[in-house]
Protein backbone atom coordinates (compact mmCIF):
# COMPACT_ATOMS: atom_id res chain seq x y z
CA UNK A 1 0.00 0.00 0.00
CA UNK A 2 1.29 3.47 -0.80
CA UNK A 3 2.15 5.95 1.91
CA UNK A 4 -0.82 8.20 1.10
CA UNK A 5 -3.21 5.26 1.20
CA UNK A 6 -1.70 3.95 4.43
CA UNK A 7 -2.08 7.35 6.10
CA UNK A 8 -5.65 7.63 4.97
CA UNK A 9 -6.51 4.16 6.25
CA UNK A 10 -4.92 4.75 9.66
CA UNK A 11 -6.92 7.96 9.99
CA UNK A 12 -10.12 6.18 8.99
CA UNK A 13 -9.19 3.47 11.48
CA UNK A 14 -9.03 5.95 14.36
CA UNK A 15 -12.37 7.48 13.41
CA UNK A 16 -14.07 4.10 13.15
CA UNK A 17 -12.61 2.90 16.45
CA UNK A 18 -13.64 6.08 18.25
CA UNK A 19 -17.18 5.96 16.89
CA UNK A 20 -17.56 2.34 17.91
CA UNK A 21 -16.26 3.11 21.42
CA UNK A 22 -18.70 6.01 21.87
CA UNK A 23 -21.64 3.95 20.64
CA UNK A 24 -20.58 1.08 22.91
CA UNK A 25 -20.64 3.25 26.04
CA UNK A 26 -23.82 4.99 24.94
CA UNK A 27 -25.55 1.67 24.31
CA UNK A 28 -24.71 0.55 27.86
CA UNK A 29 -26.47 3.64 29.22
CA UNK A 30 -29.64 3.54 27.12
CA UNK A 31 -32.62 1.49 28.23
CA UNK A 32 -35.82 1.40 30.19
CA UNK A 33 -34.32 -0.02 33.36
CA UNK A 34 -32.84 2.47 35.81
CA UNK A 35 -29.07 2.20 35.87
CA UNK A 36 -27.36 5.29 37.29
CA UNK A 37 -23.62 5.14 36.59
CA UNK A 38 -22.82 6.83 39.91
CA UNK A 39 -24.33 3.90 41.84
CA UNK A 40 -23.11 1.19 39.43
CA UNK A 41 -20.80 -0.45 41.95
CA UNK A 42 -22.70 0.33 45.15
CA UNK A 43 -26.09 -0.81 43.84
CA UNK A 44 -26.00 -4.52 43.07
CA UNK A 45 -29.09 -4.35 40.87
CA UNK A 46 -27.57 -1.72 38.58
CA UNK A 47 -24.48 -3.85 38.05
CA UNK A 48 -26.61 -6.90 37.41
CA UNK A 49 -28.66 -5.02 34.81
CA UNK A 50 -25.44 -4.05 33.09
CA UNK A 51 -23.96 -7.52 33.04
CA UNK A 52 -27.11 -9.52 32.31
CA UNK A 53 -28.83 -7.29 29.78
CA UNK A 54 -27.07 -4.15 28.54
CA UNK A 55 -23.60 -5.60 27.93
CA UNK A 56 -24.84 -8.76 26.18
CA UNK A 57 -27.19 -6.71 24.02
CA UNK A 58 -24.43 -4.32 23.01
CA UNK A 59 -22.00 -7.14 22.28
CA UNK A 60 -24.66 -9.00 20.28
CA UNK A 61 -25.27 -5.93 18.11
CA UNK A 62 -21.55 -5.49 17.50
CA UNK A 63 -20.98 -9.18 16.70
CA UNK A 64 -24.02 -9.48 14.44
CA UNK A 65 -23.25 -6.23 12.62
CA UNK A 66 -19.59 -7.03 12.03
CA UNK A 67 -20.41 -10.60 11.00
CA UNK A 68 -23.19 -9.71 8.58
CA UNK A 69 -21.08 -7.02 6.91
CA UNK A 70 -18.27 -9.54 6.36
CA UNK A 71 -20.75 -12.17 5.16
CA UNK A 72 -22.07 -9.67 2.63
CA UNK A 73 -18.56 -8.81 1.46
CA UNK A 74 -17.66 -12.47 0.95
CA UNK A 75 -20.94 -13.24 -0.76
CA UNK A 76 -20.27 -10.38 -3.18
CA UNK A 77 -16.79 -11.76 -3.79
CA UNK A 78 -18.07 -15.28 -4.47
CA UNK A 79 -20.85 -14.09 -6.78
CA UNK A 80 -18.55 -11.44 -8.33
CA UNK A 81 -21.43 -9.02 -8.02
CA UNK A 82 -21.75 -6.02 -5.73
CA UNK A 83 -25.50 -6.18 -5.32
CA UNK A 84 -26.05 -9.44 -3.47
CA UNK A 85 -26.13 -10.13 0.25
CA UNK A 86 -27.20 -13.06 2.42
CA UNK A 87 -30.56 -11.60 3.41
CA UNK A 88 -31.72 -11.11 -0.19
CA UNK A 89 -30.15 -14.03 -2.05
CA UNK A 90 -31.58 -17.04 -0.26
CA UNK A 91 -29.01 -17.61 2.50
CA UNK A 92 -31.12 -16.22 5.32
CA UNK A 93 -34.31 -17.80 3.97
CA UNK A 94 -32.59 -21.20 3.74
CA UNK A 95 -31.39 -20.82 7.33
CA UNK A 96 -34.96 -20.04 8.38
CA UNK A 97 -36.20 -23.13 6.56
CA UNK A 98 -33.57 -25.20 8.37
CA UNK A 99 -34.41 -23.96 11.84
CA UNK A 100 -38.15 -24.21 11.13
CA UNK A 101 -37.85 -27.87 10.12
CA UNK A 102 -35.75 -28.70 13.17
CA UNK A 103 -38.25 -26.92 15.41
CA UNK A 104 -41.02 -29.02 13.88
CA UNK A 105 -39.25 -32.36 13.90
CA UNK A 106 -37.09 -32.07 17.04
CA UNK A 107 -38.70 -29.43 19.26
CA UNK A 108 -36.40 -30.21 22.17
CA UNK A 109 -33.15 -29.68 20.24
CA UNK A 110 -30.60 -27.34 21.78
CA UNK A 111 -29.86 -23.89 20.37
CA UNK A 112 -26.46 -25.14 19.19
CA UNK A 113 -28.06 -28.00 17.26
CA UNK A 114 -30.60 -25.64 15.74
CA UNK A 115 -27.78 -23.34 14.68
CA UNK A 116 -25.99 -26.23 13.05
CA UNK A 117 -29.13 -27.24 11.16
CA UNK A 118 -29.69 -23.64 10.07
CA UNK A 119 -26.06 -23.37 8.94
CA UNK A 120 -26.31 -26.58 6.92
CA UNK A 121 -29.51 -25.42 5.25
CA UNK A 122 -27.94 -22.02 4.54
CA UNK A 123 -24.91 -23.73 3.01
CA UNK A 124 -27.10 -25.77 0.70
CA UNK A 125 -29.26 -22.82 -0.29
CA UNK A 126 -26.29 -20.53 -0.94
CA UNK A 127 -24.45 -23.18 -2.98
CA UNK A 128 -27.49 -23.56 -5.22
CA UNK A 129 -27.68 -19.80 -5.62
CA UNK A 130 -24.02 -19.52 -6.57
CA UNK A 131 -24.16 -22.44 -8.99
CA UNK A 132 -26.94 -20.68 -10.85
CA UNK A 133 -25.41 -17.22 -10.51
CA UNK A 134 -22.17 -18.41 -12.13
CA UNK A 135 -24.14 -19.56 -15.16
CA UNK A 136 -25.77 -16.18 -15.74
CA UNK A 137 -24.12 -14.06 -18.45
CA UNK A 138 -21.53 -11.71 -16.90
CA UNK A 139 -22.58 -9.01 -19.37
CA UNK A 140 -25.85 -8.61 -17.42
CA UNK A 141 -24.72 -7.76 -13.87
CA UNK A 142 -28.23 -7.04 -12.61
CA UNK A 143 -29.47 -10.54 -13.42
CA UNK A 144 -27.61 -11.96 -10.42
CA UNK A 145 -29.26 -9.83 -7.70
CA UNK A 146 -32.59 -10.13 -9.50
CA UNK A 147 -32.30 -13.89 -9.57
CA UNK A 148 -31.27 -13.74 -5.89
CA UNK A 149 -34.41 -11.80 -4.98
CA UNK A 150 -36.67 -14.28 -6.77
CA UNK A 151 -34.80 -17.27 -5.36
CA UNK A 152 -34.86 -15.87 -1.82
CA UNK A 153 -38.54 -15.02 -2.28
CA UNK A 154 -39.42 -18.57 -3.31
CA UNK A 155 -37.64 -20.12 -0.32
CA UNK A 156 -39.16 -17.46 1.95
CA UNK A 157 -42.60 -18.35 0.63
CA UNK A 158 -41.96 -22.02 1.38
CA UNK A 159 -40.92 -21.08 4.91
CA UNK A 160 -44.11 -19.07 5.43
CA UNK A 161 -46.24 -21.88 4.04
CA UNK A 162 -44.71 -24.52 6.31
CA UNK A 163 -44.96 -22.21 9.32
CA UNK A 164 -48.59 -21.43 8.54
CA UNK A 165 -49.51 -25.11 8.21
CA UNK A 166 -47.74 -25.88 11.48
CA UNK A 167 -49.21 -22.87 13.25
CA UNK A 168 -45.74 -21.43 13.87
CA UNK A 169 -46.18 -18.07 12.14
CA UNK A 170 -45.51 -16.20 15.37
CA UNK A 171 -42.17 -17.91 15.81
CA UNK A 172 -41.25 -16.98 12.30
CA UNK A 173 -41.03 -13.24 12.91
CA UNK A 174 -38.46 -13.94 15.63
CA UNK A 175 -36.12 -15.22 12.91
CA UNK A 176 -37.08 -13.02 9.99
CA UNK A 177 -37.00 -9.66 11.75
CA UNK A 178 -33.89 -8.89 13.76
CA UNK A 179 -34.47 -7.76 17.33
CA UNK A 180 -31.99 -7.41 20.19
CA UNK A 181 -34.57 -6.84 22.94
CA UNK A 182 -34.57 -10.52 23.88
CA UNK A 183 -30.80 -10.76 24.20
CA UNK A 184 -29.67 -11.69 27.69
CA UNK A 185 -26.53 -13.22 29.14
CA UNK A 186 -26.49 -16.89 28.19
CA UNK A 187 -28.59 -16.37 25.06
CA UNK A 188 -26.31 -14.64 22.60
CA UNK A 189 -22.93 -16.31 23.08
CA UNK A 190 -23.23 -18.38 19.87
CA UNK A 191 -22.58 -15.14 18.00
CA UNK A 192 -18.94 -15.38 19.08
CA UNK A 193 -18.69 -18.25 16.58
CA UNK A 194 -19.53 -15.67 13.94
CA UNK A 195 -16.66 -13.55 15.25
CA UNK A 196 -14.42 -16.57 14.77
CA UNK A 197 -15.55 -16.71 11.14
CA UNK A 198 -14.60 -13.03 10.77
CA UNK A 199 -11.12 -13.88 12.03
CA UNK A 200 -10.88 -16.74 9.50
CA UNK A 201 -11.92 -14.31 6.76
CA UNK A 202 -9.18 -11.93 7.83
CA UNK A 203 -6.58 -14.72 7.73
CA UNK A 204 -7.50 -15.57 4.13
CA UNK A 205 -8.07 -11.92 3.09
CA UNK A 206 -5.43 -12.01 0.34
CA UNK A 207 -6.94 -15.12 -1.16
CA UNK A 208 -10.41 -13.58 -1.12
CA UNK A 209 -9.08 -10.52 -2.94
CA UNK A 210 -7.53 -12.77 -5.58
CA UNK A 211 -10.80 -14.71 -5.88
CA UNK A 212 -12.52 -11.46 -6.79
CA UNK A 213 -10.26 -11.36 -9.87
CA UNK A 214 -12.02 -14.47 -11.18
CA UNK A 215 -11.40 -18.19 -11.51
CA UNK A 216 -8.70 -18.08 -14.19
CA UNK A 217 -6.63 -15.40 -12.48
CA UNK A 218 -6.93 -17.32 -9.18
CA UNK A 219 -5.71 -20.59 -10.67
CA UNK A 220 -2.96 -18.74 -12.52
CA UNK A 221 -1.72 -17.45 -9.16
CA UNK A 222 -1.73 -20.93 -7.67
CA UNK A 223 -4.90 -20.63 -5.60
CA UNK A 224 -7.08 -23.67 -4.96
CA UNK A 225 -10.19 -21.96 -6.30
CA UNK A 226 -12.68 -24.74 -5.50
CA UNK A 227 -11.52 -25.02 -1.90
CA UNK A 228 -11.63 -21.26 -1.37
CA UNK A 229 -15.16 -21.24 -2.78
CA UNK A 230 -16.16 -23.83 -0.18
CA UNK A 231 -14.51 -21.89 2.64
CA UNK A 232 -16.25 -18.69 1.58
CA UNK A 233 -19.59 -20.48 1.46
CA UNK A 234 -19.08 -21.84 4.97
CA UNK A 235 -18.20 -18.41 6.37
CA UNK A 236 -21.26 -16.78 4.76
CA UNK A 237 -23.60 -19.58 5.82
CA UNK A 238 -22.45 -19.86 9.43
CA UNK A 239 -22.55 -16.11 10.07
CA UNK A 240 -25.98 -15.69 8.47
CA UNK A 241 -27.46 -18.74 10.18
CA UNK A 242 -26.18 -17.70 13.61
CA UNK A 243 -27.65 -14.26 13.14
CA UNK A 244 -31.02 -15.73 12.12
CA UNK A 245 -31.10 -18.14 15.04
CA UNK A 246 -29.89 -15.79 17.79
CA UNK A 247 -31.28 -12.36 16.92
CA UNK A 248 -33.18 -12.72 13.63
CA UNK A 249 -32.19 -11.50 10.20
CA UNK A 250 -31.00 -7.92 9.81
CA UNK A 251 -31.30 -6.69 6.22
CA UNK A 252 -29.05 -4.35 4.20
CA UNK A 253 -25.95 -4.50 6.46
CA UNK A 254 -24.19 -6.91 4.12
CA UNK A 255 -25.19 -4.83 1.12
CA UNK A 256 -24.42 -1.23 2.03
CA UNK A 257 -21.38 -1.56 4.28
CA UNK A 258 -19.07 -3.37 1.80
CA UNK A 259 -20.14 -0.99 -0.95
CA UNK A 260 -19.36 2.11 1.10
CA UNK A 261 -15.99 0.78 2.23
CA UNK A 262 -15.12 -0.21 -1.33
CA UNK A 263 -15.87 3.32 -2.55
CA UNK A 264 -13.77 4.87 0.19
CA UNK A 265 -10.83 2.48 0.35
CA UNK A 266 -10.95 0.03 -2.55
CA UNK A 267 -11.14 -3.75 -2.48
CA UNK A 268 -7.81 -4.95 -1.12
CA UNK A 269 -9.33 -6.94 1.71
CA UNK A 270 -6.16 -7.21 3.76
CA UNK A 271 -6.63 -3.49 4.39
CA UNK A 272 -10.39 -3.07 4.17
CA UNK A 273 -11.74 -6.08 6.06
CA UNK A 274 -11.33 -4.55 9.55
CA UNK A 275 -13.21 -1.46 8.36
CA UNK A 276 -16.02 -3.52 6.89
CA UNK A 277 -16.39 -5.30 10.23
CA UNK A 278 -16.18 -2.10 12.27
CA UNK A 279 -18.60 -0.22 10.01
CA UNK A 280 -21.10 -3.08 10.16
CA UNK A 281 -20.91 -3.04 13.94
CA UNK A 282 -21.33 0.76 14.06
CA UNK A 283 -24.32 0.68 11.72
CA UNK A 284 -26.20 -2.08 13.54
CA UNK A 285 -25.41 -0.80 17.03
CA UNK A 286 -26.38 2.73 15.97
CA UNK A 287 -29.68 1.49 14.54
CA UNK A 288 -30.39 -0.50 17.69
CA UNK A 289 -29.75 2.54 19.89
CA UNK A 290 -31.98 4.65 17.65
CA UNK A 291 -34.68 1.98 17.84
CA UNK A 292 -34.53 2.13 21.64
CA UNK A 293 -34.80 5.92 21.74
CA UNK A 294 -37.31 6.85 19.04
CA UNK A 295 -40.44 5.61 20.86
CA UNK A 296 -38.98 5.52 24.36
CA UNK A 297 -39.94 3.62 26.51
CA UNK A 298 -41.09 1.35 23.67
CA UNK A 299 -38.71 -0.20 21.14
CA UNK A 300 -38.52 -0.49 17.37
CA UNK A 301 -36.84 -3.78 16.36
CA UNK A 302 -33.42 -3.37 14.76
CA UNK A 303 -34.58 -5.29 11.67
CA UNK A 304 -37.19 -2.62 11.00
CA UNK A 305 -34.76 0.19 11.72
CA UNK A 306 -32.15 -1.30 9.41
CA UNK A 307 -34.77 -1.78 6.72
CA UNK A 308 -35.40 1.99 6.72
CA UNK A 309 -31.86 3.27 7.31
CA UNK A 310 -30.18 0.66 5.10
CA UNK A 311 -32.68 1.21 2.31
CA UNK A 312 -32.02 4.95 2.36
CA UNK A 313 -28.25 4.44 2.32
CA UNK A 314 -28.61 2.02 -0.57
CA UNK A 315 -30.65 4.51 -2.60
CA UNK A 316 -28.08 7.18 -1.84
CA UNK A 317 -25.32 4.83 -3.07
CA UNK A 318 -27.23 4.16 -6.28
CA UNK A 319 -28.06 7.75 -7.12
CA UNK A 320 -24.87 9.43 -6.02
CA UNK A 321 -22.43 9.93 -8.85
CA UNK A 322 -19.75 7.24 -8.71
CA UNK A 323 -16.58 8.74 -7.35
CA UNK A 324 -13.33 8.31 -9.21
CA UNK A 325 -10.50 8.77 -6.78
Amino acid sequence: MSIAAAKQSSKTGWIAGLMLAILFVFSLCVGVGDMPISRLFSDGRALELLLVSRLPRTLAAILAGAGLAIAGLIMQTLARNRYVEPSTAGTAQSAELGILLVTLLLPSASLLFKSLAASAAALLGTSLFLMTAHRLPPTQPFLVPLFGLVYGGVIGAAVTFVAWRADLLQYLSVWTNGDFSGVLRGRYELLWLGALMVVVAWIVADRLTIMALGRDASIGLGLDYARMLQLGLIIVSVISALSVVVVGMIPFVGLVVPNIVSRLMGDNMRGTLPFVAASGAILVLGCDILGRLLRYPYEIPVGTMMGCVGGLIFLWLLFRRPSHV
Partner: protein
Protein backbone atom coordinates in the same frame (compact mmCIF):
# COMPACT_ATOMS: atom_id res chain seq x y z
CA UNK B 1 10.61 -26.58 -22.50
CA UNK B 2 6.89 -26.90 -23.11
CA UNK B 3 6.05 -30.30 -24.54
CA UNK B 4 2.59 -30.89 -26.00
CA UNK B 5 1.82 -34.43 -27.11
CA UNK B 6 -1.28 -35.59 -28.98
CA UNK B 7 -3.62 -33.12 -27.33
CA UNK B 8 -7.25 -33.10 -28.43
CA UNK B 9 -10.15 -31.13 -27.04
CA UNK B 10 -13.85 -31.16 -27.69
CA UNK B 11 -16.75 -29.11 -26.33
CA UNK B 12 -19.91 -31.15 -26.82
CA UNK B 13 -20.14 -31.90 -30.52
CA UNK B 14 -17.43 -29.44 -31.57
CA UNK B 15 -13.88 -30.63 -31.93
CA UNK B 16 -11.72 -27.67 -30.87
CA UNK B 17 -8.26 -29.22 -31.12
CA UNK B 18 -7.21 -32.21 -33.27
CA UNK B 19 -4.28 -34.23 -32.01
CA UNK B 20 -1.84 -31.35 -31.47
CA UNK B 21 1.84 -32.05 -30.86
CA UNK B 22 4.26 -29.19 -30.38
CA UNK B 23 7.51 -28.58 -28.57
CA UNK B 24 8.50 -25.08 -27.49
CA UNK B 25 12.12 -24.96 -26.32
CA UNK B 26 13.23 -22.78 -23.44
CA UNK B 27 13.87 -19.12 -24.26
CA UNK B 28 12.57 -16.82 -26.94
CA UNK B 29 9.21 -15.64 -28.16
CA UNK B 30 6.81 -17.98 -29.91
CA UNK B 31 3.80 -16.36 -31.55
CA UNK B 32 0.58 -18.30 -32.09
CA UNK B 33 -1.31 -16.93 -35.07
CA UNK B 34 -4.36 -17.99 -37.02
CA UNK B 35 -7.92 -17.04 -37.85
CA UNK B 36 -10.62 -16.67 -35.17
CA UNK B 37 -11.75 -19.98 -33.77
CA UNK B 38 -8.51 -21.76 -34.69
CA UNK B 39 -8.06 -23.03 -31.11
CA UNK B 40 -5.14 -20.79 -30.09
CA UNK B 41 -6.70 -19.62 -26.83
CA UNK B 42 -7.88 -23.14 -25.99
CA UNK B 43 -4.36 -24.50 -26.46
CA UNK B 44 -2.97 -21.74 -24.24
CA UNK B 45 -5.50 -22.36 -21.48
CA UNK B 46 -4.74 -26.11 -21.60
CA UNK B 47 -1.02 -25.39 -21.14
CA UNK B 48 -1.94 -23.14 -18.21
CA UNK B 49 -4.21 -25.86 -16.67
CA UNK B 50 -7.21 -23.53 -16.76
CA UNK B 51 -9.28 -26.34 -18.22
CA UNK B 52 -8.82 -30.08 -17.78
CA UNK B 53 -6.88 -32.09 -20.33
CA UNK B 54 -9.17 -34.50 -22.16
CA UNK B 55 -6.63 -36.34 -24.26
CA UNK B 56 -2.86 -36.16 -24.61
CA UNK B 57 -0.09 -34.86 -22.40
CA UNK B 58 1.35 -31.42 -21.67
CA UNK B 59 4.41 -30.76 -19.56
CA UNK B 60 6.26 -27.56 -18.70
CA UNK B 61 9.90 -27.92 -17.65
CA UNK B 62 9.17 -31.63 -17.22
CA UNK B 63 6.21 -31.04 -14.87
CA UNK B 64 2.96 -32.52 -16.21
CA UNK B 65 0.40 -29.72 -15.95
CA UNK B 66 -2.48 -31.98 -14.95
CA UNK B 67 -0.80 -33.63 -11.96
CA UNK B 68 1.63 -31.00 -10.65
CA UNK B 69 0.23 -29.05 -7.68
CA UNK B 70 -1.29 -25.76 -8.73
CA UNK B 71 0.91 -23.80 -6.35
CA UNK B 72 4.11 -25.20 -7.85
CA UNK B 73 2.99 -24.51 -11.41
CA UNK B 74 2.23 -20.91 -10.46
CA UNK B 75 5.95 -20.44 -9.84
CA UNK B 76 6.83 -21.89 -13.25
CA UNK B 77 4.30 -20.32 -15.59
CA UNK B 78 2.11 -17.24 -15.61
CA UNK B 79 -0.85 -16.67 -17.89
CA UNK B 80 -2.78 -13.61 -18.94
CA UNK B 81 -6.16 -14.42 -20.46
CA UNK B 82 -7.56 -12.28 -23.21
CA UNK B 83 -10.84 -11.55 -21.45
CA UNK B 84 -9.44 -10.62 -18.05
CA UNK B 85 -11.81 -8.15 -16.48
CA UNK B 86 -10.86 -6.59 -13.16
CA UNK B 87 -14.01 -5.49 -11.37
CA UNK B 88 -12.26 -4.99 -8.03
CA UNK B 89 -11.23 -1.53 -6.95
CA UNK B 90 -7.52 -2.22 -6.59
CA UNK B 91 -4.64 0.16 -7.03
CA UNK B 92 -2.19 -0.65 -9.83
CA UNK B 93 0.56 -1.40 -7.32
CA UNK B 94 -1.71 -3.71 -5.33
CA UNK B 95 -2.74 -5.63 -8.47
CA UNK B 96 0.85 -6.05 -9.63
CA UNK B 97 1.74 -7.08 -6.07
CA UNK B 98 -0.65 -10.01 -6.26
CA UNK B 99 1.66 -11.40 -8.94
CA UNK B 100 3.98 -12.23 -6.04
CA UNK B 101 1.32 -14.31 -4.28
CA UNK B 102 2.65 -17.74 -5.45
CA UNK B 103 5.97 -17.00 -3.74
CA UNK B 104 5.05 -15.70 -0.29
CA UNK B 105 1.36 -16.68 -0.16
CA UNK B 106 0.54 -13.05 0.59
CA UNK B 107 3.54 -12.02 2.66
CA UNK B 108 5.68 -9.53 0.76
CA UNK B 109 9.42 -9.39 1.43
CA UNK B 110 11.74 -6.50 0.45
CA UNK B 111 12.72 -8.60 -2.59
CA UNK B 112 9.07 -8.79 -3.60
CA UNK B 113 8.72 -5.01 -3.35
CA UNK B 114 11.80 -4.58 -5.53
CA UNK B 115 10.32 -6.91 -8.16
CA UNK B 116 6.99 -5.05 -8.03
CA UNK B 117 8.78 -1.73 -8.57
CA UNK B 118 10.76 -3.21 -11.43
CA UNK B 119 7.60 -4.57 -13.08
CA UNK B 120 5.87 -1.20 -12.76
CA UNK B 121 8.87 0.45 -14.35
CA UNK B 122 9.22 -2.16 -17.09
CA UNK B 123 5.68 -1.47 -18.27
CA UNK B 124 5.72 2.29 -17.76
CA UNK B 125 3.27 2.25 -14.84
CA UNK B 126 5.27 3.97 -12.10
CA UNK B 127 3.30 7.22 -12.39
CA UNK B 128 0.02 5.33 -12.32
CA UNK B 129 0.87 3.01 -9.43
CA UNK B 130 -1.50 4.65 -6.90
CA UNK B 131 -4.44 4.88 -9.29
CA UNK B 132 -7.41 2.55 -9.06
CA UNK B 133 -7.57 0.12 -12.01
CA UNK B 134 -11.09 1.21 -12.92
CA UNK B 135 -9.90 4.77 -13.53
CA UNK B 136 -7.38 3.67 -16.17
CA UNK B 137 -7.86 3.50 -19.91
CA UNK B 138 -8.17 0.11 -21.58
CA UNK B 139 -4.57 0.15 -22.68
CA UNK B 140 -3.21 1.15 -19.27
CA UNK B 141 -5.28 -1.61 -17.68
CA UNK B 142 -3.88 -4.11 -20.15
CA UNK B 143 -0.34 -3.05 -19.27
CA UNK B 144 -1.10 -3.42 -15.57
CA UNK B 145 -2.27 -6.99 -16.17
CA UNK B 146 0.86 -7.83 -18.16
CA UNK B 147 2.97 -6.28 -15.39
CA UNK B 148 1.20 -8.51 -12.86
CA UNK B 149 2.01 -11.60 -14.93
CA UNK B 150 5.61 -10.43 -15.25
CA UNK B 151 5.85 -9.82 -11.48
CA UNK B 152 4.98 -13.47 -10.97
CA UNK B 153 8.61 -14.01 -11.97
CA UNK B 154 8.04 -17.26 -13.82
CA UNK B 155 10.29 -18.64 -16.56
CA UNK B 156 7.28 -19.14 -18.82
CA UNK B 157 4.85 -16.41 -19.74
CA UNK B 158 1.67 -17.17 -21.69
CA UNK B 159 -0.13 -14.14 -23.09
CA UNK B 160 -3.42 -14.29 -24.93
CA UNK B 161 -3.78 -11.31 -27.26
CA UNK B 162 -2.10 -8.80 -24.94
CA UNK B 163 -2.11 -6.14 -27.67
CA UNK B 164 -5.90 -5.80 -27.42
CA UNK B 165 -6.83 -2.20 -26.60
CA UNK B 166 -3.29 -0.94 -27.05
CA UNK B 167 -2.52 1.93 -29.40
CA UNK B 168 0.39 1.66 -31.82
CA UNK B 169 2.84 3.22 -29.43
CA UNK B 170 2.08 0.92 -26.52
CA UNK B 171 1.66 -2.16 -28.70
CA UNK B 172 5.20 -1.56 -29.91
CA UNK B 173 6.43 -0.76 -26.40
CA UNK B 174 4.89 -3.95 -25.01
CA UNK B 175 6.41 -6.11 -27.75
CA UNK B 176 9.79 -4.49 -27.21
CA UNK B 177 9.51 -5.06 -23.45
CA UNK B 178 8.71 -8.70 -24.10
CA UNK B 179 11.66 -8.96 -26.48
CA UNK B 180 13.88 -7.45 -23.79
CA UNK B 181 12.78 -9.79 -21.02
CA UNK B 182 13.15 -12.74 -23.37
CA UNK B 183 16.69 -11.71 -24.28
CA UNK B 184 17.91 -10.40 -20.91
CA UNK B 185 16.01 -12.56 -18.42
CA UNK B 186 15.86 -15.69 -20.55
CA UNK B 187 12.06 -15.90 -20.36
CA UNK B 188 10.07 -18.20 -22.59
CA UNK B 189 7.09 -16.29 -23.97
CA UNK B 190 4.18 -17.81 -25.85
CA UNK B 191 1.91 -15.13 -27.20
CA UNK B 192 -1.31 -15.22 -29.21
CA UNK B 193 -1.21 -12.40 -31.75
CA UNK B 194 -3.60 -11.15 -34.38
CA UNK B 195 -1.24 -8.55 -35.77
CA UNK B 196 0.86 -10.70 -38.06
CA UNK B 197 3.43 -7.93 -38.52
CA UNK B 198 4.07 -7.68 -34.78
CA UNK B 199 4.73 -11.42 -34.89
CA UNK B 200 7.02 -10.95 -37.86
CA UNK B 201 8.97 -8.14 -36.21
CA UNK B 202 9.37 -9.53 -32.69
CA UNK B 203 8.87 -13.30 -32.54
CA UNK B 204 11.58 -15.91 -32.97
CA UNK B 205 9.12 -18.46 -34.18
CA UNK B 206 5.59 -18.41 -35.50
CA UNK B 207 3.17 -21.30 -35.08
CA UNK B 208 0.07 -21.00 -37.24
CA UNK B 209 -3.16 -22.77 -36.36
CA UNK B 210 -6.34 -23.28 -38.31
CA UNK B 211 -9.47 -25.23 -37.38
CA UNK B 212 -7.81 -26.93 -34.42
CA UNK B 213 -4.66 -28.04 -36.24
CA UNK B 214 -1.15 -26.67 -36.61
CA UNK B 215 -0.79 -25.77 -40.27
CA UNK B 216 2.58 -24.02 -40.34
CA UNK B 217 5.54 -23.61 -38.03
CA UNK B 218 8.81 -21.74 -38.54
CA UNK B 219 10.78 -18.51 -38.33
CA UNK B 220 9.06 -15.32 -39.49
CA UNK B 221 10.90 -15.30 -42.80
CA UNK B 222 10.01 -18.98 -43.41
CA UNK B 223 6.41 -18.52 -42.59
CA UNK B 224 5.48 -15.09 -43.86
CA UNK B 225 5.23 -15.92 -47.54
CA UNK B 226 2.18 -15.28 -49.74
CA UNK B 227 1.49 -18.98 -50.22
CA UNK B 228 1.67 -19.95 -46.55
CA UNK B 229 -0.39 -16.95 -45.50
CA UNK B 230 -3.06 -17.81 -48.04
CA UNK B 231 -3.17 -21.35 -46.70
CA UNK B 232 -3.64 -20.03 -43.15
CA UNK B 233 -5.98 -17.09 -43.62
CA UNK B 234 -7.65 -17.91 -46.92
CA UNK B 235 -6.84 -14.80 -48.92
CA UNK B 236 -3.98 -13.44 -50.99
CA UNK B 237 -1.62 -10.88 -49.52
CA UNK B 238 1.67 -9.29 -50.58
CA UNK B 239 4.79 -9.64 -48.48
CA UNK B 240 7.69 -7.19 -48.71
CA UNK B 241 10.94 -7.29 -46.79
CA UNK B 242 12.33 -4.19 -45.09
CA UNK B 243 15.57 -4.38 -43.10
CA UNK B 244 15.36 -8.20 -43.08
CA UNK B 245 11.89 -8.08 -41.53
CA UNK B 246 9.03 -9.45 -43.63
CA UNK B 247 6.04 -7.09 -43.71
CA UNK B 248 2.65 -8.40 -44.72
CA UNK B 249 0.44 -5.99 -46.66
CA UNK B 250 -2.95 -7.39 -45.77
CA UNK B 251 -4.97 -4.20 -45.66
CA UNK B 252 -6.33 -4.01 -49.19
Amino acid sequence: MIRIENVSLRHGQTQILHDISLTIPKGGITALVGPNGAGKSSLLSLIARLQPLQAGRISVDGFPVDTTPNRDLARILAILRQDSIVTSRLRVRELVGFGRFPHGRGRLTPDDYAIIDQSLQQFDLTDLSDRFIETLSGGQRQRALVAMAFAQGTDYLLLDEPLNNLDMYFARELMRSLRRIADENGKTIVIVLHDINQAGAHADRIVAMKAGRIVADGTPSDLLTPNTLQAIFGFEMRVETFDDTPVVLHFR
